[in-house]
């Protein structure tokens, strides 16, 4: 039971590093989508009795994070006509190494935190920390708006992973609400990216440094 859970969280941690290391934007989007789907399965593994709400949230998460958001991002990608992050602020090898160091650090930190006995032997907390740091790294280190959105998605995946600790005490409606927020956010960012593209003819956020009337 915990082994299967840890395997899935380990997979999600591996996908963090894949997203950090790949320079092609479609594969970054694919990694973020796959991570969302992997995390969508987790409530089914944690909850022993499958209420209809759990199944619904799980299916909703997989659908939104695995299909709807990647679809929106791919459409933005096609419109912008780019498929590669050319000059990241933090290079791919350094960001991969930083992400790996964060993963190791997160596992070490998870070992010293005073966790509940039922969480002590699961990777939920380390996985959450590692994913949040990986998301921040992508947000900071990349210049293309689409990579930054993917970083934002990975960051949110980390927070979601942390939220799974409280799955027994938070109403699942909250999860559904967060999912809706996320979709709207990505939708808005898609529109903003479209505007940036039209205005500056590029998605490079380094150009967005001066204010105009």
């Amino acid at each position: 039971m915990t082994d299967t859970l840890n395997l899935f969280i380990g997979l999600a941690m591996g996908l963090n590093l894949l997203a950090l290391a790949s320079s092609r934007l479609p594969s970054v989007i694919r990694a973020a989508a796959l991570q969302g789907m992997v995390l969508g399965i987790l409530p089914l593994l944690i909850e022993h009795d499958w209420q209809w709400m759990v199944v619904l949230v799980s299916i909703g998460t997989i659908a939104v994070k695995g299909f709807v958001i990647p679809h929106l991002l791919r459409r933005a990608l096609r419109a912008a006509n780019i498929d590669r992050e050319m000059k990241p602020l933090i290079g791919f090898v350094p960001s991969l190494l930083l992400g790996a160091a964060a993963t190791v650090g997160a596992v070490a930190l998870g070992g010293v935190l005073p966790l509940l006995p039922e969480h002590a032997d699961s990777l939920l907390v380390p996985g959450s920390f590692a994913t949040v740091v990986a998301g921040f790294l992508m947000l900071m280190g990349r210049t293309k708006a689409i990579s930054q959105v993917c970083g934002y998605l990975i960051l949110e995946n980390g927070i979601y992973l942390f939220g799974l600790l409280l799955i027994n005490s938070t109403p699942l409606l909250v999860e559904a609400g967060i999912l809706l927020d996320l979709t709207v956010a990505v939708f808005v960012i898609g529109i903003i990216m479209d505007r940036i593209q039209k205005e500056f003819d590029t998605l490079d956020t380094n150009k967005l440094t001066t204010l105009h009337e």
Binding site: V93, L96, L97, A100, V107, G111
Partner: protein, 303 residues
């Protein structure tokens, strides 16, 4: 059986079987490409031919140019003595021989590199620079892999370390990492193309351009031996062979080495070599796979 005779027999088996592996890789490659390809024993013919030839030396070289390949070959042969081949353990085993194994591989690399620089050719210097800069990450990966095995088994002796407990996620990570290390250390695609003869892109081949005759034979045989060493290391880290009989263990080991070699041939047929600036990313990936295997082994006791 007398220990000395036993050791000599095992060493002879390693030395005699090693040149078979590149032949099998070439056979797999030609099979995938639909060619007939060179015979499996081609490297034996090449070695015999080179052994009969004379040595051409440039006026610039020091005796190190000839001594380097010889020392490298001896280091690799001793390293092959340290690897346990079956239930009887390694011919040479003592606590801490894992460290000696790493250092012998490093010594072999150093001797090849210094012999190559000795020739004073610009291309060889370039090859050395590439080889050594890849080795920096590779050695870290090997050390991480050996540490993983050490943590798993609580020992620093290769014959205990290479009989790991049951496989799991850690073993899968370690196998993937070590396979990457095997490809990089033996200058295989996607890190280096052993068939290329373009001085600007070669790594290992560029280092041996100025060698001829018996020293070149020693280098080629040493490279084959190194491939065998890494294949056996990879097979032994993944397979838990303790419960089988002697014959079954040797059969399983041989079969897994064959599978690894065929896999190398398939990778070589199906992938193109990477551009130089992309190689560090792949090297870092195999290093990180080994580090995460270490992490799993470390947390494994408490998870």
């Amino acid at each position: 059986m007398m220990p000395a005779l036993d050791m000599a027999l095992r060493l002879a088996a390693c030395l005699l079987l090693a040149p078979l592996l590149p032949g099998i890789i070439n056979r797999v490659k030609s099979w995938v490409a639909g060619r007939r390809g060179p015979p499996v024993l081609q490297l034996y013919y090449d070695l015999a031919k080179l052994w009969r030839k004379g040595v051409v030396l440039s006026t610039a070289v020091s005796p190190g140019h000839v001594a380097g390949p010889a020392v490298a070959w001896v280091a690799l042969a001793v390293a092959s003595l340290l690897l346990p081949l079956g239930p009887a353990g390694a011919p040479l085993a003592f606590p801490g021989d894992a460290l000696l194994f790493v250092y012998l591989l490093a010594l072999a690399r150093f001797c090849t590199a210094s012999a190559a620089m000795d020739a004073g050719s610009a291309f060889e210097g370039m090859g050395v620079v590439r080889e050594v800069s890849y080795a920096v990450i590779n050695e870290a990966a090997i050390i991480a892999a050996l540490l993983t095995l050490g943590v798993q088994t609580g020992s620093v002796s290769l014959s205990v370390m290479l009989a790991p407990p049951a496989a799991g996620a850690g073993a899968a990570l370690l196998a993937a990492g070590l396979f990457g290390v095997l490809l990089a250390e033996n200058c295989r695609v996607p890190f280096d193309d052993p068939n290329t003869h373009l001085e600007l892109t070669m790594i290992h081949e560029a280092m041996v351009l100025d060698h001829s005759g018996p020293p070149l034979a020693a280098i080629l045989h040493g490279a084959a031996l190194k491939l065998l060493l890494f294949a056996v290391l990879l097979a032994k880290t993944v397979l838990a062979l303790t419960s089988l009989s002697w014959l079954a263990t040797m059969g399983a080991l041989g079969a897994s080495v064959l599978v690894i070699v065929v896999l190398v041939g398939l990778v070589e047929s199906l992938l193109a070599r990477l551009a130089f600036r992309r190689v560090p990313l792949l090297l870092a990936t195999s290093f990180l796979l080994c580090v995460f295997a270490l992490l799993v082994a470390w947390k494994g006791g408490r998870l």
